[in-house]
């Protein structure tokens, strides 16, 4: 471990998990050489297709799973440290809690396990119930709860002890649209209160809305990471042209990345910086000086799909050649 305390809330080096089954005869590479750096007060979206290793990574961060290789720090303490969990709120992927317990009982139990001061427990539990809007069902048993309500209870128990770091594994799944909105509001509120949130999801629109930065995991490897703004940064211009003469089309075709006709408008996307000037010239000459131009902002969906596909292709080749 380095002597200097890093600025990062979560920092991992070469974090790797290989599952050995049948005494090492079958190996599953769940996470390979993960280097993550997450700054304080940042909302980090951890993306990746199913089976990419998101949950395994989260469990390693929490010390539930022992890394095969590598390590890291969470809140400046090595992975698996017990005391640091006091400052972490965690929502598991499949919230399963004692089904025989009532909601309030369960949260009180969690408060005790999270070392909340005894005199504060009651108040914290009530507050958490209000936050997730389950105060009217506080006396019901968890066995009677729907998937969405369990998810809310899960969030309530993660928030209970007012942690500095929240690790949420798929917080949006199983929720109805109003539920999702509520959770988003809770997360935005936490962000304002300068909490660090690390959450995994595959609902990209939510991520786009909430995150400061994202990391994309594919087949155990981190393929893309960085601030959301950078990843979605403009890399082209979109022109909207009204009443464009059809004669211009052949000369434009090789230069644009995408063309689309809507009613009497043409939408032209130019990604290559070099072609932008040429396209503008052609349009000007063609008498379409009213063309509206705007910087092209990438969609997270596209970035995600492109990255995953490119990575799969590259890895496919690697395995072929290798």
């Amino acid at each position: 471990m380095t002597d200097s305390i890093s600025d990062y809330i979560i920092e991992t080096q070469d974090l790797t998990k290989i599952y050995n089954r049948w005494f090492g005869l079958r190996m599953t590479e769940a996470v390979m050489g993960l280097d993550l750096k997450i700054q304080p007060n940042c909302t980090f979206g951890f993306l990746g297709p199913n089976g990419a290793g998101k949950t395994t990574t989260i469990k390693m961060l929490l010390g539930l799973v022992r890394p095969t290789r590598g390590g890291g720090c969470v809140l400046h303490r090595p992975l698996g440290d017990q005391d640091v969990r006091k400052y972490i709120g965690f929502l598991p992927e499949e919230p399963a809690f004692g089904r025989h317990l009532k909601a309030r009982e369960f949260l009180t139990l969690c408060a005790k396990l999270s070392h909340v001061e005894p005199n504060e427990q009651r108040q914290r539990v009530e507050k958490a119930l209000q936050t997730v809007r389950l105060d009217h069902r506080a006396g019901s048993r968890l066995a009677e709860f729907s998937r969405g309500m369990l998810q809310r209870i899960g969030i309530a128990q993660a928030l209970l002890h007012d942690p500095t770091l929240l690790i949420l594994d798929e917080p949006m799944t199983g929720l109805d649209p109003p539920g999702r909105r509520e959770i988003k509001e809770i997360m935005l509120d936490l962000r304002q209160r300068e909490k660090t949130i690390f959450f995994s999801s595959h609902i990209l629109s939510d991520v786009e809305e909430l995150c400061d930065s994202v990391g994309i995991l594919n087949r155990g490897r981190l393929v893309l990471a960085g601030p959301l703004a950078d990843l979605l940064a403009a890399s082209g211009v979109e022109y909207t042209v009204t009443n464009m003469p059809a004669t211009l089309l052949p000369s434009l075709e090789p230069l644009v990345a995408g063309m689309q006709k809507k009613h009497n408008q043409w939408i032209l996307q130019v990604t290559d910086e070099a072609h932008q000037e040429t396209v503008r010239e052609i349009l000007k000459r063609g008498g379409c000086s009213d063309a509206e131009s705007r910087r092209l902002r990438k969609n997270l969906d596209d970035v995600f799909m492109e990255t995953i596909e490119a990575d799969n292709e590259r890895r496919g080749k690697e395995t072929q050649h290798g």
């Binding site: 469990k59 799973v65 017990q82 899960g154």
Partner: protein, 247 residues
């Protein structure tokens, strides 16, 4: 210690909430009560019959409760409840201690209920009075059950529930049998046998059935043994469990 007690309480309350448990205890008490009907066919040995039946039933109840330890850890792992609990500041060792204490609590309550039933039935029989010896024998049976629970916790940390249960029962049977063998062995072999949990103390009910007096030192020794063995087993369980991936 608060969090350990929370785990213990939660483990115990989950089982103690089951109606099936009380049904079992009621049936067991009825079986013991039926011992009163042996009467004449025992040819003057009704006390012995009655007490033997009672102690056997209490021991069965205790062993069944101890097996909860084998079931509970794999169940929590399978149902993913463990993920939520172990992400809390409570460490894995404390979690295991909590589980162990919880199962011990279940066994204590169940055995105490049937034990009180046995005492009442003994008093109702009129011919013989409930006495301190019955309590001493029950304490010793409980000491055995505690040791078995500790073994169950160790096996539960790394085996599937059925395998853990089966192996726990095999160890119970084997150690019980070897406990008797130990009396006739010496030196190294005896030491090896003495490393196993001592379940022979559970058969001190023989003394009661024969109107004997159980030495208090034996009761103390039994309790000490149970404590020491549980401690060893919990440390072993901790060593195994801390390497486990809670997937």
């Amino acid at each position: 210690m608060d969090d350990v007690m929370v785990i213990a309480q939660n483990t115990a309350s989950r089982v103690l909430r089951m109606k099936a448990l009380y049904f079992l205890l009621a049936i067991v008490t009825c079986i013991i009560a039926s011992g009163q009907l042996y009467g004449d066919i025992t040819i003057g040995r009704e006390k012995e019959y009655f007490l033997d039946l009672g102690f056997a039933m209490i021991m069965i109840v205790g062993v069944l409760c101890a097996l909860v330890a084998c079931f509970d850890l794999p169940r929590e792992l399978r149902e993913k409840t463990m993920v939520a609990v172990l992400s809390k500041p409570l460490g894995r060792d404390r979690y295991l201690i909590g589980k162990f204490l919880g199962v011990c609590e279940i066994a204590l309550i169940s055995m105490a209920l049937v034990g009180v039933g046995l005492m009442i039935l003994t008093a109702m029989a009129g011919r013989y009075r409930p006495n301190l010896e019955i309590v001493k024998a029950l304490i010793l049976i409980y000491a055995g059950v505690v040791q078995l629970t500790a073994v169950g916790v160790v096996l539960g940390t790394f085996l599937k529930e059925w395998l853990a249960t089966l192996l726990t029962l095999v160890i119970f049977w084997g150690s019980y049998a070897l406990g008797y063998v130990a009396a006739n062995t010496e030196g190294f072999v005896q030491t090896i046998i003495h490393l196993l949990p001592n379940f022979a103390i559970m058969s001190s009910d023989n003394v009661v059935a024969r109107d004997g007096v159980i030495d208090w030192r034996l009761v103390g020794g039994g309790v000490l043994l149970a404590g020491l063995y549980s401690l060893v087993m919990l440390i072993v369980a901790g060593l195994i469990f801390r390497r486990k991936d809670i997937a």
